[in-house]
Symmetry: C3
Subunit: 365 residues, 3 copies
């Protein structure tokens, strides 16, 4: 990790610096674990004690904190601490360590076009007519199937799978083990199936139908990821049936997120760990889905929707809603329902008492 001066870091943050801003730091650390060459991230008053335990000479602190009283020799004052964290960690990141050039062990089809400055690691397989953008970096064990396009400055990490004809934007990051462009999960029975009957009758038609097998609907569409998209480790995005499954610019998916076939997800969304989106769902812009959120098939989720952890969405959601629970309702309503549910055993007792008092019996007449 190379060194940076406090002055330079402050400048890159657009933040004010105080004290001996010529101090060079080579790492970033939590205040209590920081050594003398580390920049401590101490962005609220509760870190004061930890700073004393560590050995940092310089720190990023929050607005209104007194760097001299904290025993620091230099300080950067960050009005929005997590924004400072983003800039500092980016500056200090050593990067993924992918060597420049094309590793000789890789199997690259002669028809593939590799952009200037692109790097390709060991045991990579690149199919026919693939286009790799300039400065893109492809780590070991990646496979990129026929006709796929990878944007400029993209980063495709270990063992990621890119299916045929998938199009990936500029600066996209694919984390290890993700699968972009598997086949959609789409099957049909020759005659009306048990599940079609259940859906139609809301489960009232319980009699079994004649046994029949599933015929596959093949996925002829691909997947299209916008610019600045990130896909988490071991996440999966399925191809569309006829048109492409699409994810808009700036949207980030966490580890093990599943996006079904034909989904269309807008820009600047965050889908947290283990979120599952069934087939043919449309999602607007700036939607934030908490971890393990599920969305049933063929629904529309408006822009600026936010869900709490493990929210299960079973019907279409208008823009701007904040949802929680299974099934999802407005967070506020969910909290009221939940409080009432906690009191329900006691409420049942009260009703029994009333019943006895009014009807002189524990039975309704």
């Amino acid at each position: 990790m190379t060194g940076h001066s406090i002055k330079d870091i402050a400048a890159s943050l657009g933040a004010e610096a105080f004290g001996d801003t010529s101090i060079i730091v080579t790492g970033v650390a939590e205040p209590g674990r920081a050594g003398p060459a580390d920049l401590a991230m101490a962005m609220s008053a509760r870190y004061a004690d930890q700073l004393a335990q560590g050995a940092a000479r310089a720190a990023v602190i929050g607005a209104g904190m007194d760097w001299q009283a904290l025993g620091l020799q230099a300080a950067i004052v960050a009005p929005r601490p997590r924004v400072a964290m983003a800039h500092v960690t980016r500056a200090m990141d050593a990067g993924p360590g992918i060597a420049p050039g094309l590793h000789p062990s890789s199997v690259i089809d002669a028809s593939a076009r590799i952009g200037a400055g692109a790097a390709i690691g060991p045991f990579v397989v690149i199919g026919a007519d693939v286009v790799i953008g300039p400065r893109a970096r492809i780590a070991s064990h990646v496979s990129i199937a026929d006709g796929a396009v990878i944007g400029a400055d993209a980063l495709v990490l270990q063992g990621a799978r890119v299916g045929a004809r998938v199009v990936i934007g500029d600066r996209v990051i694919l984390h290890p083990g993700c699968v972009i462009g598997a086949d959609g999960f789409s099957f049909v029975t020759p005659d009306t199936s048990q599940v079609e009957r259940s859906r139609a009758s809301l489960g009232r038609a319980d009699s079994a139908v004649a046994p029949q097998g599933w015929t596959r609907i093949h996925s002829l569409g691909a997947v299209r990821l916008g610019d600045d998209v990130e896909i988490g480790a071991n996440a999966t995005i399925d191809r569309g049936t006829l048109a492409d499954t699409t994810i808009g610019d700036g949207t980030k998916l966490d580890n093990m997120v599943h996006v079904g076939h034909n989904c269309r997800i807008g820009r600047d969304c965050l889908l947290c760990g283990q979120v599952g989106i069934a087939g043919s769902v449309t999602i607007g812009d700036r939607v934030v889905l908490g971890g393990q959120t599920g969305v049933a098939d063929n629904l529309e989720i408006g822009s600026d929707v936010v869900t709490g952890a493990s929210t299960i969405i079973l019907s279409t959601v208008p823009p701007g809603r904040a949802l929680l629970g299974y099934p999802a309702v407005r967070m506020e309503a969910q909290v009221d329902m939940y409080k009432a549910l906690r009191r329900l055993p006691r409420l049942a007792k009260t009703v029994a008492d009333l019943q006895k008092a009014v009807f002189k019996s524990d039975k309704t007449p």
Copy 2:
């Protein structure tokens, strides 16, 4: 993509065709995006406007639609639209692009038997005594461990992992990154553990037990997949402890489905995205589990059971039931419970009013 005449497609569907059935199509598309060489899939009346926006000359339409009024030159009439979709997409699928023959980079044990016409891609590892069926296709980066058997015409996609002694039927498809035959998650403590006590007492025994570590129960069984099974991207199926974990003919698992050790799943089931089945669960035939459904260990799920999204099954289920919710109950009962829960805050208010009227106090006497 090679061309097909409308006449030939109709014949393969067993459907009637009208108009100039000699028209050749080279692709399939949604009506609004179809070009003149595409077959538009316009299987209900709501696609009429989109057909006008696109440039399709030929379409698959639903029963009762008037192809001439839709401005088409040729049409195929499909009585069951999704069945038509299955046939047409299959005919038009370019396939996974696995080159014939054995790629020289692959490491294939001398004792492995490779069937006639099988294809093996780059960086594949095939262990001792493995049997690969005729015409099976193995994509790049796959590993197939000692003694595993892959059926005829099977398709094993990028980076799939097949464990030792796993047996895979004919025409099975393993999607990228799935792991068939990892060890079961089975551990024991020397003495009674906290979790055993909790289960026995339903959580009433909260006092901590003496700390102890976990000893592993090894998995000596394997996994056995029937014919025509599909396993989704990054899905995992664990080996049995003594006998094999088994999945019956025609059953399809979506992406990131987890099947625990010792499970026995019947034929023609559908397990949607992120379903999790704990150890030693028995599931009948034609069961359809919605996305994120969970099944606790050691349960039996009867044939023809259907669950809605995110249903959590904590007790054995008789055949034919349609379930929803956490914990799972009949869909119909769940909807009633849920409606009552939504009205519960108002109900609590009503009871408080009654209490006041009857007991002249907000306290029960």
Copy 3:
């Protein structure tokens, strides 16, 4: 599988053996499927009939069972059956079949230090300054990035990904496809985001904020796994932001478990299939989380906590609690709430009757 005498197996179990203890067994099987060379695992009386169906001459039986009446020629009596299962399956496990030595296809950086007796399979990539412990076994297609450390006797299975500077203890098992050390899911907007507002207002502030994109907070920390840890197939553990994400000695994670950045998990925990832990969660020792359990970010879970399947934890949990439900409450309270909920539609009817009787109207006055 090599053979073992009944006498030797009993000695390794510290258990008593009866009958002809010189009998050699070469496998282990369920009683009904056991052949004459198998040791049947028949550890409760309900296996008596199955023993008769099978052909086992020797079995492990439970305390109080009569081996001669069961028709056996030899028996081992196990007071705690699953402990016996652990020992016997370990003795009979043929192992992962990783050939000794370094496979010539692997790409191993010259600066890496490989311990004595370590084995490295085909198509493995090992980065700069990596340390591989003595007798560690690395299966095919694994990647181990710069500066990572793998402990003695560790087992890293097919396609596992170990990120830069990750430290893995002795005897750790990484199952196929797991990703240790992906980047944390941590983003910030330049100004207050929709999700920050929703959290602050509990969803009451539904008005959209000005559109803005997400800036990445890079992960400079690594992941540190203690000794005897197991990580399931396709599981993912993210790096810490500044300090390491840590998992204590003896903790086992099942398939597709997700552990977010900055988590600190104690020792001897079990995290079952598809559990998801959001960022910055602290978990004590001996915690057992049932399948699909979710834990929201920045919470603390005390030691000896146990959760039922699919429990969703949205607030901090004191030590020793047994929890169930969404949101998680004590198992006992959850069962009471759930029973009351099932009766709620009937309760609503009773209240309506009371309302009519008391107020002579179905409206509250």
